[in-house]
């Protein structure tokens, strides 16, 4: 009877733990801990890790793409600059070539003009030479004719001879003056 009372009093004291409850608490907590370690925590950690990886992967992929795009842009800009440079170079060359062509043509034309001028001079010279030659021949003929006349009449009279010479000289003077007045005509006619 007295032990029952003591036990009842112990039961009623909430500060005195029951061994069975401690044991059950330990066992149940242990089982729950095991299950969480085994099945719950790894899954949550995996989700975290996967998410971190996905985000980091996305970021790094974006960075790679960005770098690629930058590189391509730089390349295109370089190509564009090259093309512009090339175009400028070609234009410059064309201009130079054009100028050169013009200069060449001009020089050629000058040469041609020179040549034509030279030709003209040569022709004139040749004609003059021809005229001189023919004049000389004519003067010779005239001289011969004069000599013939002098010789034909001289034997008769000194006076006559003097007259012939005077006449010849006068003829010659006439010839000279008329030639001076119209040299081209006389030249051609003599």
């Amino acid at each position: 009877m007295s032990t029952d009372v003591v036990r009842a009093a112990e039961d009623l004291n909430p500060l005195i733990p029951h061994v069975s409850e401690i044991v059950i608490g330990l066992v149940v907590f242990g089982i729950l801990f095991f299950l969480i370690v085994k099945f719950v925590a790894p899954n949550f950690e995996k989700a975290y890790a996967d998410r971190t990886k996905a985000i980091e992967g996305g970021i790094s992929a974006a960075e790679t793409k960005q770098a690629e795009a930058d590189a391509r842009l730089a390349e295109l800009e370089k190509q564009l600059a090259d093309a512009r440079h090339e175009a400028a170079r070609i234009r410059e060359e064309a201009r130079e070539q054009g100028a050169q062509i013009v200069a060449e043509m001009r020089e050629q034309a000058n040469r041609e003009a020179e040549r034509i001028k030279e030709n003209g001079k040569a022709t004139i010279e040749a004609e003059r030479q021809q005229a001189v030659t023919s004049l000389r021949a004519e003067v010779g003929t005239l001289a011969t004719a004069l000599a013939g006349r002098i010789v034909g009449e001289s034997l008769e009279d000194d006076e006559r001879a003097n007259r012939v010479v005077d006449r010849f000289l006068a003829d010659l003077e006439d010839l000279e003056t008329s030639r001076q007045a119209a040299p081209g005509v006389n030249g051609g006619a003599v």
Partner: protein, 266 residues
């Protein structure tokens, strides 16, 4: 069952809620061993906690669904808010599952006090918080000894640096008492007492209100009974907060003890 038993007494005399209301008779016996309601509840809490958590975490998707999101919020709260804050990287990883188990286990068992038909906070039976506190005691001491060696650990725990020599003989026993011996007791008592007192208050206002409204002849009985039920509702909301808070505090203190045991100086 508590309420029913007390209600029978209430029909004859004013109710006197007390420790007896926490001392439930066995529901059934297994091989001569009486199984009580808290025992069933504790086992059930593990089933509930694991069932819910497993459902939440099973898919482990990168883009979480609602359930997984809720589970991750809870897990992240313990992992980042408690473990990492108090233990610090990289050690905290090892203790996250343990701390998380404490948190959900205490949380479910506390909220039993508010859920109809369960209506009994298991942690108001001192054996259960004591079991948890004993585990915590073993865990943080073993962690400290494994890190610093037995003597190094005792020195770190009992001898704060930079003390004058004459005070050391006084401080060392005090620190030993508070850091090594009393921590599991304070852990136990804090959780047990709040759950016990909270549940007692709820019983008091529920049974008191019922008695005043139905069985008392006093002139002030009716307003008193109404006030009692109003108080019952107010205390219920307070309890909802306290039940979460106690689960948080128990987990937080365990994490702090582990962190202090692992720290080089404090």
């Amino acid at each position: 069952m508590t309420l029913a038993g007390a209600a029978i007494r209430a029909s004859e005399s004013p109710p006197q809620p007390g420790p007896a209301d926490f001392n439930l008779p066995p529901i059934f016996e297994v091989a001569g061993f009486g199984i009580t309601k808290p025992m069933v509840l504790v086992v059930l809490s593990a089933v509930i906690a694991f069932g819910v958590l497993y459902t939440m975490s099973r898919r482990a998707a990168v883009v979480p669904g609602r359930l997984q999101f809720a589970g991750e919020a809870m897990y992240g709260f313990v992992r980042n808010g408690i473990a990492r804050e108090n233990i610090g990287a990289p050690d905290y990883h090892r203790y996250v599952p343990y701390l998380f188990t404490i948190f959900v286990f205490v949380l479910v068992n506390n909220y039993y006090g508010m859920i109809p038909f369960f209506q009994f906070p298991t942690m108001s039976r001192i054996g259960y918080p004591l079991a948890l506190a004993l585990i915590a005691w073993v865990v943080y001491n073993v962690a400290g000894i494994a890190r610093h060696g037995l003597l190094g650990y005792l020195r770190l725990q009992t001898l704060p640096p930079g003390l004058p020599a004459w005070i050391v003989p006084i401080i060392v026993p005090l620190e030993f008492l508070s850091n090594i011996l009393l921590r599991p007791l304070t852990l136990t008592l804090r959780l047990f007492a709040t759950m016990f007192a909270g549940h007692l208050l709820l019983i008091l206002f529920a049974l008191g209100g019922e008695y005043l409204l139905l069985h008392s002849d006093n002139a002030l009985a009716i307003p008193g009974g109404i006030l009692s039920f109003v108080m019952f509702i107010a205390i219920s909301f307070l309890e909802l907060l306290i039940m979460f808070l106690q689960a948080y505090v128990f987990t937080l203190l365990t994490a702090m003890y582990i962190g202090l045991a692992l720290a080089d100086e404090h």
